[in-house]
């Protein structure tokens, strides 16, 4: 009996669904030992420490061009990276999880550190780029440390504003999206509104938002919500209205009422599409956040960038950009993690 099931299972593999074992096999294979690594395991292991040592050497060599205060901090940063790389290279022998991780990220780390070297050489080294617009990495690190209080404060304000606007937009978008996707009349009246108002970039509403809102902060949150609302509504509505009719038919013959059909059939079926909307909305919310902070709101990373630019402190500008990159990509990663949890049933069915 079991034998028969297995045979028919193999014959049942369809175009849309890759069996999960196959996907897993491929991904482990991708990070398996390459031929060179097998030949020279120690050399491969030393790639990152050697690159870090190279970066440290270049830095110490060009550092005489810079104020000592600035270069010392960056020396510590590169030095600790070098030390960390050495420790990791030794530790991985007894720690398999670290080993696979290192194998996976080794090329990325190496190239990243090399790019830092190049940056330092063309700024501090040969002074090829005009100051103060293009400071050295040491200068950026120093600005980050000097201004850490204000940077932390700005990040915190950005986070609060982003989350309040994003969550508001997501809730509103889900509600309107489900209504438009499910009900005929809501679709009739909602779709034209969505098609006309939706494509206007949220930032274009800034003049109006400034006039009608009591505070810049509230209007900024509203604008972010508007920017998020459009893609979330669009993708939710399309996901809901594209729910396979046969799922709904089956549920109805099982005795489902309208509430069950919407919340237990249509919404779960639409979730893959809804997540596309959530990702698009997140991108739009980053953009709107930074623009709103640079023109109206007197706090946050966007404000910090334009403020630092006003004082021609470009080290601070880049420091804020680096933090922004980490901040936004962390939030993006969290949304990916949430998606992986919620859509766990798709695992092995589609490639992420």
């Amino acid at each position: 009996m079991l034998q028969g099931q297995k045979i028919s299972r193999q014959s049942q593999v369809t175009v849309g669904s890759v069996p999960s074992d196959q996907v897993r096999a491929e991904s482990t294979e991708r990070y398996a030992l390459s031929a060179q690594e097998k030949k020279h395991p120690t050399a491969a292991l030393l790639t990152v420490p050697v690159t870090a040592a190279l970066a440290l050497g270049i830095h110490l060599f060009v550092a005489k061009n810079e104020p000592p205060n600035e270069s010392r901090t960056y020396t510590i940063v590169l030095g600790s990276f070098f030390a960390g790389a050495i420790v990791a290279a030794v530790m991985q022998r007894w720690w398999p999880a670290l080993q696979t991780r290192m194998r996976r990220f080794r090329p990325l780390f190496t190239v990243g550190v090399l790019l830092l070297c190049v940056w330092e050489v063309i700024t501090s080294g040969f002074r090829m780029l005009p100051l103060p617009y293009f400071p050295s990495p040491a200068g950026v690190v120093q600005s980050m440390i000097n201004d850490r209080g204000l940077l932390f404060d700005s990040t915190w304000h950005s986070l609060v504003l982003l989350l309040s606007g994003y969550l508001l937009g997501v809730v509103a978008g889900l509600v309107t999206g489900v209504c438009i996707g499910w009900s005929g009349p809501a679709r009739y009246w909602g779709m034209p509104l969505l098609k006309v108002v939706g494509p206007i970039p949220a930032t274009a509403w800034i003049p109006l938002a400034m006039v009608i809102s009591p505070s810049a902060l509230i209007s900024a949150a509203g604008l972010i919500a508007l920017a998020v609302w459009f893609p979330v509504t669009m993708l939710t509505a399309s996901g809901i209205s594209n729910t396979r009719a046969s799922y709904l038919d089956v549920a109805r013959t099982l005795g489902a009422n309208a509430r069950y059909l919407v919340f237990r059939i249509a919404i779960p079926a639409a979730l893959p599409s809804i997540f596309v909307g959530l990702f698009m909305g997140l991108g739009a919310s980053f953009l709107t956040l930074v623009v709103a902070e640079s023109v109206g709101v007197k706090s946050g990373l966007g404000w910090y960038v334009s403020w630092a630019q006003g004082w021609a402190e470009y080290g601070k500008v880049y420091a804020a950009l680096v933090i922004m990159a980490c901040f936004f990509s962390t939030i993006m990663t969290l949304l990916f993690k949430l998606r992986d949890r919620v859509l766990v049933w798709q695992k092995g069915m589609i490639r992420w």
Binding site: S8, R9, S246, D249, T253, G255, I265, K347
Partner: protein
């Protein structure tokens, strides 16, 4: 009483023609069938003759243009958990595990809390306890169809409508599943209406076979199958019935398509 009787009186249904929206094409005409409670009847006919439409009408997912459909003498007013429907595609909800798919029948009616104990029983009935926490795309076609059957059966439907449920399975799985469906039917004595393309399946399983004509579908003939169960697919009675039905469908004796070596 576990089963319901089913009466169809002069049922007709038409759909708008795909290219001319103003004219309507009749799909079913003057269909009159009467199923006794607990009977297993097969519906056979050329493709496009409205077999699936007929099942949708009985399920209450569509409404007829003319005639009436009665379950236990009551007119059908819409879908109900008392009339289960299983399609050729199992249509399992891909976001639910096997267990939660089977539970869906109870959850949809809002009685999951009271009847949760039955879920296990139904998983055992269709032999899927080991796969309780698997997602549908990990299942083979036969397993998925068994989950679909369990999901429909957990509501104890008085009528079970099967729309080519075994059509997508390979020949061996299909024969095994025929026995499983028969076993379920014999245990529960639900009234069953089975749409199929497979004459052997119809003879093997049903009490009566209803043969429909080309579109618009009308009843061409009703053939009672008087063989004792369990039936032997290679007995002479079985085979003579088979050729009789093939004759009716104008397939028998037509050897022009056979390859001549």
């Amino acid at each position: 009483m576990v089963a319901s009787s089913l009466q169809l009186r002069d049922v007709g249904k038409s759909f708008p023609a795909p290219d001319q929206p103003l004219t309507r094409q009749p799909v079913l005409e003057t269909i009159s069938i009467s199923l006794e409670a607990g009977e297993l009847v097969s519906l056979v006919g050329p493709s496009g003759c409205g077999k699936s439409t007929l099942l949708r009408l009985i399920a209450g997912l569509d409404f007829p243009d003319s005639g009436e459909l009665l379950v236990d003498e009551e007119p059908i007013s819409g879908p109900s958990a008392e009339r289960g429907l299983v399609f050729q595609d199992p249509n399992l909800f891909p976001w639910l595990t096997v267990r939660r798919n089977i539970e869906a029948g109870l959850a949809a009616r809002g009685v999951l809390q009271q009847k949760r104990s039955e879920v296990k029983e139904f998983m055992r009935l269709v032999g899927l306890e080991a796969f309780a926490d698997a997602y549908p795309h990990h299942l083979s076609g036969g397993m998925a169809q068994r989950v679909a059957l369990a999901r429909a059966l957990i509501n104890h439907p008085k009528v079970l409508l099967l729309d080519e449920p075994l059509g997508a399975l390979d020949a061996f799985t299909r024969m095994r599943m025929q026995d499983e469906v028969l076993r379920l039917w014999q245990n529960r004595r639900t009234t069953m209406l089975l749409v199929t393309h497979d004459i052997d399946e119809a003879i093997y399983m049903s009490d009566r076979i209803i043969i429909l004509t080309q579109r618009p579908g009308t009843i061409e003939q009703i053939i009672p199958i008087a063989l004792d169960r369990p039936r032997d697919r290679s007995s002479s009675d079985f085979l003579s019935l088979r050729s009789e039905i093939l004759e009716l469908l104008h397939f028998a004796g037509n050897r022009t398509s056979e390859v001549t070596a």
